[in-house]
Symmetry: C2
Subunit: 195 residues, 2 copies
């Protein structure tokens, strides 16, 4: 038996303290705040971390080495080709990648039933990669996540493998993905109170 | 209260019948069969679907439209540049993508404790995107999944946006990802009996 239900109130209090601090330090993605507030207003849920989705240009020693990765550019919105080219211009060494990541919201639920209700709502609204991420005595954690994603290698060790024209193409595709997941976030914000 | 524990034996029997049929029809990825057999030999688990991971070239009307997507090439192993170029040569219309997908194994567990034990084992062995995918009266479903992935736009409507040299670069990166996730599958196969 896991004790997450028993520990729910105490964990929620802690998480809300952390969120207030993050908000005060301007560390929360601006356009996701109303959604977080709506989730946290529900008795049986609280948010523990979130990202509103992003386009980024990243330099990494090798794929998947997050620790030594450096963001050369990161945007929680649509981007222009110029912005991406400017970020690419900062590349010095390692692998250079153009990335799109869907929004991710981690939400603790009070009971398994609560978790499944949220999970099914999110999947139904297009967040198809949503899941229960972890279960422990402290928390039963739902991850709300969508399918939009791009992982495009751009070059390595100062050598660029693609043309400016290609960057234009992938920026268009990435912006379409951003519009798509922002729309899903909006719908989730509208529907979340029904839980 | 979900009834998955109560329905476990009946569901396992059905799933095993489906697996025997899929094996007879040669529909199961060859190199993942020993792992599936080891999981299904455990009393409190059974597999419901699986993919051993793949590299593919896909044509789709627009990103995410799985229904109308067509595989021009699909390999559950490392590939050569020639194989990928041959697949690209079959492109006619829509968006053309080069994709890498990590292995995915769906495993039903008898209790939440069983699910979490498997989830934590998988995460610890490098399958960091593993999760509890769904919970219903029928099944409590764990998804074993890793982080390797590539989504590279190659062109659209017969127009190729990248050079052959670039294809060579992304094939190298993709093959490295395949080696990495095959290694993880091997370790999972070795460790799974400890559950």
């Amino acid at each position: 038996m896991f004790l997450y239900t028993k520990n729910f109130e105490e964990q929620k209090e802690r998480a809300m303290e952390g969120l207030r601090k993050a908000l005060a330090e301007d560390k929360v993605d601006y356009d996701i705040i109303p959604l977080l507030e709506k989730i946290n207003a529900l008795d049986n849920y609280f948010t523990t971390s979130s990202c509103s989705g992003r386009i980024s240009v990243m330099e990494m020693p090798h794929f998947g080495d997050k620790v030594n990765s450096v963001w050369l550019g990161k945007w929680h919105r649509e981007v222009t080709v110029e912005e991406v080219l400017e970020a690419i211009g900062k590349h010095r060494s390692g692998q250079l990648w153009f990335l799109v990541r869907s929004p991710i919201i981690h939400v603790a639920a009070k009971t398994l039933e609560d978790a499944v209700k949220l999970l099914n709502l999110a999947v139904g609204l297009g967040f198809k990669y949503s899941n229960i991420k972890s279960v422990s005595h402290k928390k039963l954690l739902v991850e709300i996540r969508s399918t939009e994603r791009m992982d495009v290698p751009l070059g390595e060790n100062e050598e660029l493998w693609v043309s400016e024209e290609y960057i234009g193409k992938i920026v268009n595709l990435a912006n379409a993905q951003v519009r798509r997941f922002k729309g899903k976030l909006k719908r989730l914000e509208e529907e979340i109170e029904k839980l």
